[in-house]
């Protein structure tokens, strides 16, 4: 029913968002860990530290923790000591608000802040082997600790934003279109061709998958700083809507969907 409402009242999607957010939320008692959805074999693997390949990352992270790096020549251990003791419960508090950046940072970002500011080493690429290992090592020390992300005046606006972005996921595209505007990226005034064909199902854009693709497109647009001039990157240009690339936003849906 809520999906229906959003589609009918696409124009007033924003006011509707608040309503669907509360209506779509799963009561805390009914929330289930991803663990509950794993197969028996996967659970068995995860339950046994000597079988779980994730523990290799933890092991490697422990090595990296003690390795001096950067122009400061400091290791994580030089400030934080033995990570197995000092990092207990830390990961459970992330994402945490960073006063200097005035926004929440996640654990990976915190590690990279330490690298750039304290160790004076280059930030590690997101999802790189080293960053994953360090993060796994730190997060391992919070095993069994309940998630304890601070909800206060500083983090509330970010949590609200996240809620608004999270819940319309399975709804019509008209409500997800609010996302580019609220993140400060100007959405194209006209819908890209691809979204029109979504309704027909011909372009292979399942509605449930599109928000993530949109976010990826937004991210690439934001990181480029401006609309990409490369018309081959139709995915970036299609959603940017900024003046130089407006001609390329009217690309056929096939090319847009293939590059997303």
């Amino acid at each position: 029913l809520s999906g229906h409402g959003a589609r009918l009242l696409g124009a007033s999607a924003l006011t509707l968002l608040a309503w669907t957010a509360s209506a779509g939320e799963i009561p805390p008692a009914e929330r289930r860990s991803g663990y509950d959805f794993m197969s028996r074999e996967t659970r068995a693997m995860q339950d046994d530290d000597t079988v779980n390949p994730g523990m290799l990352g933890v092991l490697e992270g422990g090595t990296l923790w003690a390795r001096k790096t950067g122009t400061a020549g400091r290791a994580c251990a030089d400030c934080h000591g033995d990570g197995r003791a000092s990092m207990k419960g830390v990961a459970a508090r992330y994402p945490a608000f960073d006063a200097a950046l005035k926004r929440p940072v996640n654990l990976e970002q915190r590690i990279n802040l330490c690298r750039t500011e304290r160790q004076q080493a280059p930030a590690l690429a997101y999802e790189s082997r080293e960053l994953l290992a360090l993060t796994a090592f730190v997060a391992r020390q919070s095993r069994g600790v309940p998630i304890d992300v601070a909800v206060d005046a500083r983090t509330k606006p970010f949590i609200d934003n996240g809620r608004a972005a999270f819940y319309p996921r399975a709804q019509s595209r008209s409500s997800t279109m609010a996302a580019p505007r609220s993140t400060g990226v100007r959405a194209s005034s006209t819908l890209p061709a691809a979204s029109v064909t979504t309704r027909t199902g011909a372009s292979g854009w399942p509605a449930t998958r599109s928000p993530r693709r949109i976010r990826r497109a937004i991210r690439s647009t934001v990181s480029n700083g401006r609309a990409s001039a490369r018309s081959s990157a139709g995915c970036a240009t299609a959603w940017s809507g900024s003046a130089p690339s407006r001609t390329s936003t009217a690309r056929p849906s096939s090319s847009s969907s293939s590059c997303f």
Binding site: D49, T50, V51, P53, M55, L56, E60, T63
Partner: protein, 106 residues
């Protein structure tokens, strides 16, 4: 840099069959793949795994391309005496990783 996890029971009764689990981090490049220029990507695999119990070899495995990245080997042996169980992985690009575990046999 390879890192390995080994699991050996810390205590066992004499004559007991014990299970040993080993897991090593290794990316595995089969040697069959080609890069974007069509050149063959050189093989990078673990070729040999050897487990010794107080210096006596109790298990050996020869590995070949396309078996597994991060090979996980489980095998059993008989607990004969207290001492050290040592593990060695050797492979391409001069790979040589060792690990060991102590066991007390009552």
């Amino acid at each position: 840099v390879s890192s390995a996890l080994v699991n050996v029971p810390p205590r066992a009764r004499r004559g007991e069959v014990i299970e040993i689990k080993t897991l090593i981090s290794h990316p595995m490049e089969t040697g069959y793949r080609r890069n974007q220029l069509g050149a063959r990507i050189p093989r990078d695999i673990i070729r040999l795994f050897v487990c010794t119990y107080n210096g006596t070899e109790v298990f050996r495995a020869e590995l070949h391309p396309a078996i597994a990245a991060n090979p996980f080997l489980v095998f059993s042996t008989v607990a004969t005496e207290s001492g050290t169980i040592a593990f060695q992985w050797t492979g391409d690009n001069g790979l040589s990783a060792t690990e060991s575990a102590a066991i007390v046999v009552d």
